[in-house]
């Protein structure tokens, strides 16, 4: 199935949780913030949410800026 990940249509495995996806991408959950269908997700809840077709997921982190 496809989700919208950081603005791009992205195929992910059916039944995958947000936590699974983050680990699959090699990201440290402590360094990112996640928004799922416009709702901010607490780190503790990342493994509780199973992604569904056409979900919107934003994974963000701090970068250098002024």
């Amino acid at each position: 199935m496809d989700i919208q990940l950081n603005g791009q249509p992205t195929p992910v495995a059916t039944g995958i949780t947000i936590g699974d996806l983050i680990r699959k991408k090699g990201l440290d959950p402590a360094t990112i913030v996640v928004e799922h269908n416009m709702a901010i997700i607490k780190a503790a809840d990342l493994d509780q949410i199973t992604l569904k077709e056409k979900d919107t997921l934003e994974i963000l982190r701090f970068v250098g800026g002024g």
């Binding site: 990201l27 963000l60 250098g64 800026g65």
Partner: protein, 263 residues
Amino acid sequence: MNSIHSMDSLTIGGHAFDSRLLIGTGKYPADDMIPTIIAASGSRIITVALRRVDFEATTDNVMQHIPDDMQLLPNTSGARNAQEAVRIARLARATGCGNWVKIEVIPDSKYLLPDGHETVRATEILVKEGFVVLPYINADPIVARQLEAAGAAAVMPLAAPIGTNRGLTTREMLQIIIDEIKVPVVVDAGLGKPSQACEAMEMGADACLVNTAIASAADPVAMAGAFAAAIRAGRDAWCAGPGAIRTSAAASSPLTGFLYEQE
């Protein structure tokens, strides 16, 4: 007075800081020079931006270069209206980095000028949500006053467009803001040289935020130190109270006892 830190502290959002130089984390030749820049600048407050993770790039995590005792000031760069700024601010707070936010609402990509109306709207919302809000604004005294009324912890008027290194092009309006606004005034954007930051402080600004001028210098660490010294000098001069400006000369030496005969 010769230490890296000012003697009188800067208070924003109920916190006192012993440096009046705020720095950014953008555009350095390498992010791993950030700790050295922080040390050279003496800065206690540092900005960062929030962006989508690029899954293709092996990007460095900028946070690993920022000591825990720094006050983090996430900006809302990328926001084009109040709603987007509020969304970014909430996401930034959700990282656990604290409740400070620099509001940037920029609908214009050529001059990167901020939208005052949308900035006020975002500030009103975020103050109610418990954020310590530092809005980036054009040097507009009316917008500054509206932000103060909305509960902004400071106002951050620009000296010149972001990244231009052009100095105090908004001097007249900055002076009005400094004279009229009671919350701290942090001159942000466009300062290119330490002398310009020094002048802003001599005018009575409470602090300056410098990113590009340090990051784009041939030696960013040395430039960070130079800005720190200039800001300290300017603050000390303002505290000392500059003497009056006159149109005619006023001799510094006695006008009596000259070595010639009085006519």
